[in-house]
């Protein structure tokens, strides 16, 4: 019992209270479902009051989660590290391959664009095998009789003459390099037209030019180009540069050393030359 504004009132019964709060609840729900400002204010107030509850509810879990994440992060970092290292190794390999490929592309582009030899048809050939010894300097190419390769065919690269085909299989062919001890190539000095023959020495970076008399006008730095004599090699193509000229009074001839201009020890592709006039030079060898 109590008094309210002078009236004596009973404590409201539970049913009365229930009816009251049901009305209040329905009112709240209706207002809330229409996104009312007032209910939002109530929600915010209650939310602020209950914020510590939410923090408390999340606390053990967030703490456990943090600890667990610390552990997991460690193992994951190790795993990631291992994985990334493996990946890096693989990528490095791929990158080096890419570098090799790029070099090859550059080389082949140069071969295709930089070697138009007048009167000759050219074709790329892949080097299958190299034998570079003091008694034989040979290449094996992946082109053979099926590709119309013939013995005595000239083989060049961008920088100069490499050698000639000496034997032909159905699908492969052997190339004797100009540095082979059996090889000789008729050359002409670009500076003054002096004719000579450059012989191989069995060493990939050296040619010798014998049989030039001591009075011959030849100097280190002279570029020797193929003369075309003998018909095997295309004329006017660079062969070697003279590096050393020694004159011995006791000998009849000069001792001349030259370095091949073709990069015999580089790259994996060379060019085969076919004379446009098929009759010319077929089967002839100069050696």
């Amino acid at each position: 019992m109590g008094t309210f504004l002078g009236w004596s009132i009973k404590r409201p019964s539970n049913l009365t209270k229930l009816i009251l709060v049901v009305c209040a609840s329905v009112a709240l729900m209706v207002a809330d479902s229409h996104d009312d400002q007032g209910t939002r204010a109530i929600r915010n107030i209650v939310l602020r009051a209950s914020y510590p509850l939410q923090e408390l509810a999340a606390l053990p879990f967030s703490a456990g989660y943090e600890a667990f994440r610390g552990l997991r992060t460690n193992t994951r970092l190790r795993r990631d590290n291992a994985r990334l290292e493996a990946e890096n190794r693989q990528l490095a390999v791929e990158a080096s391959q890419a570098g090799a490929l790029r070099a090859e592309v550059t080389h082949m582009t140069a071969l295709l664009h930089g070697a138009p030899v007048p009167g000759y048809r050219v074709s790329l050939a892949h080097i299958l095998d190299v034998s570079a010894g003091p008694f034989s300097q040979r290449l094996t190419l992946d082109e053979g009789a099926h590709n119309h390769v013939f013995p005595g065919q000239a083989v060049i690269d961008v920088h100069g003459i490499i050698g000639q085909v000496v034997s032909v299989g159905p699908h492969t062919s052997q190339v004797m390099l100009i540095t082979d001890p059996d090889s000789g190539i008729p050359v002409v000095s670009e500076r003054n037209g002096l004719r000579a023959i450059a012989f191989g020495t069995g060493s990939q970076d050296r040619l010798k030019v014998p049989y030039l008399s001591v009075t011959a006008d030849i100097r280190p730095g002279d570029v020797l180009a193929s003369s075309g004599l003998g018909g095997v090699y295309p004329p006017g193509y660079p062969v070697a540069r003279v590096t050393e000229v020694t004159s011995n009074p006791n000998l009849a001839f000069l001792k001349i050393r030259a370095v091949p201009l073709a990069r015999l020890g580089y790259h994996t592709h060379v060019l085969l030359l076919w004379p446009r006039k098929a009759s010319k030079g077929q089967g002839m060898r100069h050696g």
């Binding site: 539970n14 049913l15 209270k17 229930l18 709060v21 049901v22 209040a24 609840s25 329905v26 009112a27 709240l28 729900m29 207002a31 809330d32 479902s33 209910t39 109530i42 929600r43 209650v46 939310l47 009051a49 209950s50 509850l53 939410q54 408390l56 509810a57 999340a58 879990f61």
Partner: protein, 163 residues
């Protein structure tokens, strides 16, 4: 009933409600999420049974309002359900006290289920959520939990000499 509660006793009751609310919103894995009992409802039922003169419809309503905000549900739906639950409990409190424990837990489970039914109706009316069979899982959890919760809260009440 005329001996007013001390501050400490009031704080204890409020703390039990707060604990129930925390348990109600503690994040659980979705596998056992369905089996989460309605902690707040059970604590409310207990205090309504123990202190029918002090804890009642109004307390239930305020509790429901808090739950509404914590759950992010429509403001008033939990309040309505909990007020109804408090009313039903007060209505049957004398009978509930006399029941043996297992019967009591079934009866309490039924009361909570009634208030849950209210919630499900409101949800399907207002938001178009269809009633699901999975809604009954917490009701079963309530029945299982009740005897233990009753024992704990009675022990707390006796130690604190709340009556």
């Amino acid at each position: 009933m005329d001996n007013p509660l001390t501050l400490k006793q009031r704080a204890l009751i409020i703390a039990s409600f707060l604990a129930a609310m925390i348990l109600a919103i503690v994040p659980l894995p979705s596998s056992i999420h369905l089996l989460r009992p309605d902690w707040a409802a059970l604590v409310l039922v207990y205090w309504c049974m123990a202190l029918p003169e002090r804890i009642g419809v109004g307390s239930g309503w305020v509790l429901g309002l808090f739950l509404d905000v914590l759950y992010g549900s429509l403001l008033g739906e939990q309040a309505l359900a909990k007020a109804l639950l408090a009313y039903l409990t007060l209505r049957f409190t004398l009978r509930l006290r006399m029941f043996p424990r297992w019967q009591q837990s079934l009866a309490v489970g039924t009361l909570v289920a009634l208030s849950d039914l209210m919630l499900i109706m409101i949800k399907s009316l207002v938001r178009g959520h269809p009633p699901l069979w999975s809604d009954t899982a917490p009701m079963i959890a309530n029945v299982i939990l009740w005897p233990f919760l009753f024992g704990i809260l009675r022990e707390v009440r006796r130690r604190a000499k709340i009556s």
